[in-house]
Amino acid sequence: MATYKKALVPFLAAALLCLVAATRAVSTFPNSEIPKSPPSRIISLVPAVTEMLYAIGAGPRVVAVSSYDTYPPEVKKLPTVGALLDPNVERILSLKPDLVVVYGSQDDLKQQLSKAGVGIFDYRHAGLPDVTATIRALGDRTGDAARARDLASAIERGLDAIRARVKDRPRPRTLLVFGRERLSLRGIYASGGIGFLDDMLAVAGGTNVFADMKLQAVQASTEQILASRPEVILETRAANSAFPAGERQAELSVWKALASVPAVRNGRLHFLFDDRIVIPGPRIVEGTTAMARALHPEVFQ
């Protein structure tokens, strides 16, 4: 045993050293660049921010986007430079950007870009109010502040208008599903009580059945769904994961196993395969309207 302990000491020491080095590297890293002049070559790794850039008029200066970008249609012609997990630093630098929109968690990328003297716009994924806050901050950064402020205000007015229309309606208890196994009720992921989907549901006049779970994504067990008794079930995905038309009926009928759930009994199951819902960008008013229409069809004809 003694020999093991001896062997362990240098190993532990090395591990400790690595840990210290790692924490130091993170803590000394500067958070973001201070803007000097409006950027002329922008790369966005975040689809929601790409949409914002085009909506505030910075679109012509976007030179590359992430591999997940599809909107607006112009971006399909642009080069792609990877995404959250696989950003291609070499391609990014070769396109000579002066502003790169990155996810807040892309620490390595941020470090490399700031070494190369490239400006960074740090994006963090959060609730609905952060969408308009991001638009305003983005406008300040790209020199489109006036249009950004107008856009943000228009979005806030649009959301307020939806709130006003559903104000006096009963708020159905809603299960917001954004993923499950095909043709089965296994592996159901639903929105918990935080995040932009939960916020959109609140604006659209629904009550999230998992509001008390302070998680963005909840893996909902069969028991939790039965016990929470949702009155409406909304299944939302990106448009490219829509069920083929021939399988929609079969996908609807898997829910029949949970016959005591009011939404199942009253046929209030809706598929919303809509990028305007799942991308927290400038189209969220339309996305929220689509949700509100499913929840309150009598109000939104």
């Binding site: 043709l183 028991e223 069920f243 399988e247 949970l258 005591s260």
Partner: protein, 333 residues
């Protein structure tokens, strides 16, 4: 004490433990339910939420836990006996990684086939496990007249690594949501929400356990070494083949139902051996019964400890199993 009496005592003892666990587990969960209302058949089933929670959520889940636990524990015993290696698990020979590759393909390519009312992911997982078994078996037979356990072990470990690489390859091109779902599948999940997966796996389970019952004596002889076993009249190659194929079938069925839930196939056999000794005629039934009770209990913990949020059951078994495995490793030296 005669073997017969010890067998009866072992089965009764572990059987009682499993029976009580199975009886109590469906009564426990994050939602309080009224047990009188559950069995009040004057209320239409579709209106009776308590009965739906009991019969659609908890009962299938408990039965799945018992089935998967029994299969993994018994398969662990057989693999350890076959490879004559105390650290062998049902996942050592690539069966579960093959199943995982199948599941990952089904998730990433969004397959929507359904066979016998079973959705694409379990179907693909079972196909993957069969493919892995076929490859490892063919390799172990290729250059030997019999079945070489050394080649079996090396081929199994290599296929494990190879399938893992394939999984990473597929994942690299999958979307975030699919990667996340894959990761979640790998943690194991017993919430099967219907009886179909259990019903569909009955033939595989029946065959596996029938062969296990026959294997108890051959495994005892094999533990003396293949030469001694052979000199005592055992057809070693036939026994090894039966052990490998039946334990692989059991593992494949278990992974298909609940995902690759780790450590049951190693903790339970060792605990049981500590209690009843090395005789496989006692170890096999005891491990199956104890494995069933253990996984059902772990699943109760998983669904209640952080209620309303639920933990993947694989995390619970690994958190108990990891330290146990290390203790075993040190103890053996």
């Amino acid at each position: 004490m005669s073997l017969q009496r010890r067998f009866v005592r072992t089965v009764l003892g572990f059987g009682a433990l499993t029976f009580v666990t199975l009886l109590l587990a469906p009564l426990v969960g994050p939602t309080p339910i009224d047990i009188r209302r559950v069995f009040d058949f004057s209320i239409p089933f579709a209106d009776n939420t308590d009965a739906q929670i009991f019969f659609i959520a908890r009962l299938p889940r408990t039965l799945a836990g018992a089935t998967v636990g029994a299969l993994f524990a018994a398969a662990g015993v057989v693999f350890q006996g076959l490879l004559r290696n105390a650290l062998a698990t049902p996942f050592t020979l690539g069966v579960s990684t093959g199943a995982a590759l199948g599941a990952v393909l089904a998730i990433s390519f969004n397959w929507s086939i359904a066979v016998l009312g079973i959705s694409a992911v379990p179907v693909a997982a079972f196909a993957g496990s069969l493919a892995a078994v076929a490859i490892v078996y063919a390799l172990a037979q290729a250059r030997h007249r019999g079945l070489s356990t050394t080649v079996l072990l090396l081929a199994g470990v290599t296929m494990n690594a190879f399938f893992s690489a394939m999984i990473l390859f597929v994942q690299y091109f999958a979307s975030f949501a699919d990667v996340y779902r894959t990761l979640r599948w790998l943690m194991g999940d017993l919430d099967i929400s219907s009886y179909q997966p259990l019903v569909a796996s009955v033939p595989a389970i029946a065959i596996a356990f029938a062969v296990f019952a026959w294997l108890a004596r051959p495994l005892n002889l094999l533990s003396l070494g293949p030469e001694s076993a052979d000199s005592r009249g055992l057809d070693v190659t036939r026994a090894q083949r039966a052990a490998f194929l039946s334990a692989s079938l059991a593992t494949g069925a278990a992974v298909t139902i609940g995902g690759p839930i780790g450590f049951i196939g190693i903790i339970i056999p060792h605990l049981v051996r500590l209690l009843v000794g090395p005789d496989h005629r006692l170890v096999l039934p005891a491990a199956a019964l104890f494995g069933a009770a253990f996984l059902v209990a772990c699943d109760v913990v998983a669904r209640t400890i952080f209620a309303p949020v639920e933990l993947p059951v694989g995390i619970i078994t690994a958190m108990i199993g990891g330290p146990f495995f290390l203790w075993l490793l040190i103890r053996r030296r």
